[in-house]
């Protein structure tokens, strides 16, 4: 199973040798640390949350007091960028886990039952898959309204079909494995077969994909916030901060550039980590590693 202490230990051993993955993992860990502790460690918490307006300090370039400068309301960009990690982390985890839950549960049953019911659910999934996710998310966001929670819901609604498709394919493969037949012959009941025999063995591809998608979820959420239908001011979401500063890019480049750099770093780190996780789960790579005693 993908979530076990043995698995985590093996992945840790693997990461030690995969430098790119390790870089990703370190940046992601820093990112998670910042997201959790941001309000307690930033120099100007009130600026970070956007409650303070210091008009006399507006548009100051980077300095010792304000390492990333100040924005149009005189708020410390550094504090806001750091707190922004919290929003991005909540979005990434929220979107991916909700989408995983919908996709996996739905297609686990559809895949196991197969036949007409399976086809029916798959066609619904295909309908969603016919649109680019950002377009669907845009539509949902406009319909259900703005804000962090609605942003997460709209992105998850656009996102689940990818996991559904992967799960469906995997479930239909796994349910024909001899160990499922063996379990049936032994008289093990259907719920146990679904949750203990099929589910754990169908999760690997979809978990790898979820890992790879963390960065993409952050990026798309930032895009929606950028065009004004995601997280709302005065919250310090990176996409929103970029949009708040872009028209001043000629006079105060620091307002948009620093959230942009953070966005870039975190998405890149998630991609590195996701890639290394995918490589690690690749059966060929694993076999090679096992034969070399790792």
């Amino acid at each position: 199973m993908i979530i076990s202490s043995r698995f985590i230990r093996e992945y840790y051993e693997y990461l030690k040798k995969d430098k790119l993955g390790l870089t990703g993992a370190i940046i992601v860990m820093i990112f998670i640390f910042l997201a959790v502790f941001a309000p307690y460690i930033v120099p100007y918490p009130a600026d970070a949350w956007g409650y303070a307006y210091n008009i006399e300090q507006r548009l100051q370039p980077p300095s010792l007091a304000h390492p990333f400068g100040t924005d149009v309301y005189g708020r410390d960009v550094f504090s806001r960028v750091i707190l922004g990690s919290r929003f991005s982390l909540i979005i990434a985890l929220g979107v991916v886990s909700i989408a995983l839950l919908i996709g996996v549960v739905l297609e686990l049953f559809a895949g196991y039952l197969g036949g007409r019911i399976g086809t029916f659910f798959m066609r619904i999934t295909d309908m969603f898959l016919a649109f680019p996710p950002i377009l669907l998310a845009l539509l949902f966001a406009v319909v259900i309204g703005r804000g962090l929670l609605n942003l997460i819901i709209s992105l998850s609604l656009a996102w689940w079909p990818w996991y559904a498709r992967l799960t469906y394919v995997q479930v239909t493969t796994v349910k024909n494995m001899p160990y499922i037949d063996a379990a049936k012959i032994a008289g093990i009941n259907t719920p146990t077969i679904i949750f203990k025999y099929i589910l754990p063995n169908s999760l690997t591809p979809v978990t790898v994909q979820a890992f790879l998608d963390m960065g993409a979820a952050i990026l798309e959420a930032a895009a929606l916030s950028f065009i004004g239908i995601g997280v709302q001011p005065p919250n310090p979401e990176w996409g929103l901060m970029i949009s708040e500063g872009w028209y001043l890019i000629g006079v105060a480049w620091w307002i948009s550039i620093f959230p942009g750099i953070m966005l870039f770093l975190v998405v890149m780190a998630f991609n590195f980590l996701g890639d290394s996780f995918r490589e690690f789960n690749n059966p060929k790579v694993r076999r090679l590693l096992e034969s070399r005693g790792i």
């Binding site: 199973m1 001899p178 037949d181 032994a186």
Partner: protein
């Protein structure tokens, strides 16, 4: 319903597979995997079913194990049609007919430790799942207790197949279906597994249906053999007769291919 002393009665069983090959309209290609087969298995007997791949022997095995309802014909276990019984009788059938598969790794849940795999089976058969039971099972198939705490991927082919056999006999069945139990294993391991299967049969008085393309394997365990080709029985009878005096061309080829293989090894 016909009452009989034989443990298993297969009567005129036909299994068809439909495959839609039409591009726009519905057009089915019908594959006759098993085509009107009948035979009896006596209690305590080892029946061999031989045939090349694609002859329908594995499909038949699945059907006898209760996983695949025949298109027509009936399968009786102790006089009861296995696709009609329900409740307590069905559980009795489930407990008493077990199967060992060709690929030992494919037949063990890769995400569960051996201990949990065996426990699930014992639980389903409403049997004790304590350490003593598990250990005696392992002992019976000549495996170390340490195997209990391993995952299938950590085992060798032979070990995995022993575990699969342990799982099959855990419910104390009367009939064991062995679907190519040795063909995925190394030659040296094959012999050990066959010896083990023979030992279990003698000690527990089980009834076996042994399915194999390897006449040599069948000869080692069985007296009576059925030769299948394209879903039909082409020949049946005593194994020595089949090997030395095959009536059908197909049987002759099956035996010859085997002799050629062994001759090749000796040279």
């Amino acid at each position: 319903m016909i009452k009989s002393k034989s443990l298993l009665k297969v009567q005129n069983v036909t299994i068809l597979f439909r495959k839609n090959i039409g591009v726009l309209k519905k057009e089915d290609m019908i594959i006759r995997a098993v085509d009107g087969i009948s035979f009896d298995v006596e209690e305590g007997e080892i029946l061999g079913i031989a045939g090349e791949s694609g002859s329908g022997k594995s499909t038949l095995a699945k059907s006898i194990a209760g996983l695949l309802k025949p298109t027509s014909g009936i399968i009786l276990f102790e006089g009861e049609n296995i696709y009609e019984i329900k409740g307590e009788k069905y559980r009795y059938f489930r407990k008493n007919v077990q199967m060992v598969f060709q690929n030992p790794f494919g037949s063990l849940n890769p995400s569960m430790k051996i201990r949990d795999t065996l426990k699930d089976v014992l639980k389903a058969a409403k049997k004790e799942t304590n350490e003593d039971v598990l250990r005696s099972l392992m002992e019976f198939v000549n495996l170390n207790y340490e195997i209990l705490d391993k995952y299938p991927s950590e085992l060798s082919g032979g070990q995995a197949q022993r575990v699969a056999i342990a799982r099959a006999i855990a419910t104390q069945p009367k009939l064991l279906i062995l679907d190519e139990p040795t063909s995925a294993l190394d030659v040296s391991v094959q012999a050990q597994i066959l010896t083990l299967l023979k030992k279990i049969q003698t000690e527990k008085g089980l009834t076996y249906i042994l399915i194999s393309h390897d006449i040599g394997v069948i000869r080692y365990l069985c007296k009576r053999v059925i030769v299948m080709k394209a879903g039909k029985i082409v020949e049946q009878g005593d194994i020595e007769d089949i090997i030395y005096r095959p009536k059908e061309e197909y049987t002759k080829r099956l035996v010859e291919s085997l002799l050629r293989l062994y001759g090749y090894i000796e040279n």
